[in-house]
Symmetry: C2
Subunit: 334 residues, 2 copies
DNA sequence: CTGAAAGCGCTTACAG
DNA sequence: CTGAAAGCGCTTACAG
C-alpha cells in the first residue's frame, strides 16, 4: 500500500491536521513541528494522493483543452505552449479531440471530461452560443478562437479582420489583382473564415478592387484539401495571380499543387497563409504568413482561466482578449 | 451540489449498492429494479463522479504519455492517434512534455503524474534502463521508441535498422555515393540515431561503399537544426550527393537550406527523411521518407498497455513489438 | 438478488 | 498553533 498522511503523522508524532498544514503551507506552524513532519515525509517517501485531494477539495488542478485535431500543426504548437504555461502555474492540461463533431463538442462541454478538470479551454467549431451558454455548467470556461463571438463568454482571440486585411493589402501592393481565398465560402461573415474573409474584402474595397465570388473557395483547413482546391481552380481555368490560404496547412498544400502543375511561386502566383507555424519558415519557397501571437494567446488564455478558477478574476461579464499579430513576409509573396 | 448515487437510490427506492450494480453492469439484477434505477438516473441527470470512483477503485482510466515536445510533428501525429485509439477503448490520455530533460523524465516516471494514470506510454530520451527499472513503480509501463532496449520492459518500436538500410540502399541504387547522415554522431550505435546509423552502414557495406565519418553530423531532430547543419556542411565544403535526415523535420530543414543555397534537389543532392509525417507529402519537392507504421504503433502500444492494466496480458517478461515499415519514394530522391 | 457498513486518503470546519 | 471528527462520492466485501 502507498504511504499515507496517517503514516507521516504517526512517525512525526503529530496529528493528521498538522501534516495537512505543512503540506498546504499554512503559516502559523512551529518550525520544529514543521521540521519533524518534513523529516517524516522524507523518510517515508510520502507523496500526496492527488485523487483524494481532488475528491475532497473539488479541485483537480487540471485544465481541459478541447480542439478538433491535435495533429493539425497549429493546434499542436498551441497545445504545446498551453501545456508549458499551465505547467509553470502548477496545472496540467487534459486534451480532448472533437474531430469537429457537434456531439463530441457537447460531451466535452458537459460530460465526464468536464468534471475531471477545473476549467476549460474550448475551441468549438460547431456549437452555437446559446447551446454553450445552456450547457456550460458552473466551472470557468474560456473560449479560444472566433467560432463563437458572444459577450457572455471569456474569449481569447486574434485580430483576424485586421490581420487578413493587412495581408491582402500586402498582396495588392505587390501588384496582385486576382487573389483567390481558400478556406471560406463567399457568404461567410462569422467564425475564423468569415472574419478573415471580411478583412480581405476591406482591403479590396480600400484598393478599389472588385470582389469576385468565384475566387472564394471553401475547403477544410488541411494540406490535402488545399491541394485539391488548387487542382479544381486550375482545371476550371479560373485565372488568379495570388492565393491567400486561410491557414498555413492549407496554403502549403495549395502551394505544393501549384508547383507540381508548373505554376511558379511567386512569379506566376503569390501564396500567403495564416498562423506562422514552424513549417512555414522552412517551406520552399518559404511561406509569407500572419503570425498571430501564439505565445500571447497561450499566456493570456491560461492566465485568464486560472484566474477565474482561483477567483482572482471576478468580472461579471466575459473578458475579451485580442492578441496582436505581425506579417511575416517571405519568399512565397515578397 | 451535484447529484449523487444517494439521490438516485432514494428516488428509485433502492439501496446504494443496487445503483452501483446497475452502473457497473452487474448481471443478476431484476429488470424492473434496473429500470427504476435507470429512470431515476435519467430524471436527475446523474453522472458518476470519476474522482470518487478513482479514489475508491484505484483506477482512473487515464493513460499517461510522456514525450519530449508535443509540437514536433511526429509526436503530434502520434499523440493524436494514441488518443483516438485509447478513446475507443474507454481511456483518456494525459500528456506530459519532458523537453528531453532527465529530471522531467524522472518525475514523470514516479511523480504525481504517475499516480493520476493507470499506465504509462513512455518515450524517454535521457534515462538509462536501470534507472527506469528502479523507479518504474508497480503500474504498467510501455516503452515507445528505441532509446531503451531492454528485455525487462514492454516495448513498441519500429524496424529502425532495416528501414534505414532500405532507404540507404535506395539512395545507393540511385547512384549516390556520398550520403550525409544528419541527426547522429559517427560513434552512435544505440537509440534511434544509433540504430538508423547502423542500417546506413550495413547498406554501405553491402554495396561496398566506404564509411566516411565526416559525413555523419549530429543534430537536434528539428527543422532549424537540420538547416544549420547543411549550412555548416556547405561552408566546410564537404562534398556530398545525398542527405539522409534521420527524421522528417530535420530533413525538411536541410532541404530548405539546400534550395536556398541554390543546390538542386534531387539533381545535385537527393534528400530522404524518416517518419512520413503529413508534411513530407506536401513539401516541394515532396520528401522521400520511411513510413514507420504509425497507426500500428499506436494500436499495439495502447492495446498492450491496456491489456496490462486490465490483466489480460500476463507475460512475465517484456513484450516486444516491432511495427512494419514502408519506403515512400517521392521527388526529393526518386 | 439486495442492504447496511466500512473505507479509499485527503481537507476543512470546529474546538480547544 | 494543534487535535479529533466529519465527509467528499464512490466500490467492495460481508450478510442475508
Amino acid at each position: 500500500m502507498a504511504v499515507t498522511m496517517n503514516d507521516v503523522a504517526r512517525l512525526a508524532g503529530v496529528s493528521l491536521k498538522t501534516v495537512s498544514n505543512v503540506l498546504n503551507d499554512y503559516e502559523f506552524i512551529r518550525p520544529a513541528t514543521k521540521q519533524k513532519v518534513l523529516d517524516a515525509i522524507d523518510e517515508l517517501g510520502y507523496e500526496a494522493n492527488l485523487t483524494a485531494r481532488s475528491l475532497r477539495s473539488g479541485k483537480s488542478r487540471m485544465l481541459g483543452l478541447v480542439l478538433s485535431d491535435l495533429s493539425a500543426p497549429y493546434y499542436a504548437e498551441l497545445a504545446s505552449r498551453l501545456m508549458s504555461v499551465a505547467s509553470a502555474r502548477g496545472y496540467r492540461v487534459l486534451v480532448e479531440q472533437s474531430a469537429a463533431l457537434e456531439e463530441n463538442e457537447l460531451s466535452a462541454l458537459h460530460g465526464p471530461f468536464r468534471q475531471l478538470t477545473d476549467g476549460l479551454l474550448f475551441t468549438p467549431l460547431r456549437l452555437d452560443p446559446d447551446t454553450v451558454a445552456g450547457r456550460r455548467g458552473s466551472k470557468p470556461l474560456v473560449m479560444l478562437g472566433e467560432h463563437i463571438q458572444d459577450p457572455r463568454f471569456d474569449t481569447v482571440t486574434m485580430k483576424n479582420v485586421r490581420a487578413a486585411q493587412a495581408m491582402t493589402a500586402h498582396l495588392l501592393a505587390g501588384g496582385r489583382r486576382r487573389i483567390a481565398v481558400i478556406g471560406a465560402s463567399a457568404g461567410d461573415s462569422t467564425g475564423s473564415p468569415g472574419l478573415r474573409l471580411t478583412g480581405y474584402r476591406r482591403a479590396l474595397d480600400e484598393a478599389g478592387v472588385g470582389f469576385e465570388p468565384a475566387l472564394i473557395v471553401p475547403s477544410e483547413w488541411r494540406r490535402d484539401a488545399g491541394a485539391s482546391v488548387v487542382e479544381a481552380l486550375l482545371d476550371r481555368a479560373v485565372p488568379f495571380d495570388a492565393v491567400f490560404g486561410l491557414n498555413d496547412a492549407l496554403a502549403l498544400g495549395a502551394m505544393h499543387e501549384l508547383l507540381i502543375r508548373g505554376v511558379k511561386v511567386p512569379q506566376d502566383v503569390a501564396v500567403a497563409g495564416f498562423d506562422d507555424i514552424d513549417e512555414a519558415r522552412f517551406a520552399s519557397p518559404s511561406l509569407t504568413t500572419v503570425a498571430p501571437g501564439m505565445q500571447e494567446i497561450a499566456e493570456r488564455s491560461v492566465g485568464l482561466l486560472i484566474d477565474r478558477i482561483e477567483g482572482k478574476e471576478k468580472s461579471d461579464e466575459g473578458v475579451h482578449v485580442e492578441a496582436g499579430f505581425e506579417l511575416r513576409i517571405r519568399s512565397s509573396a515578397p
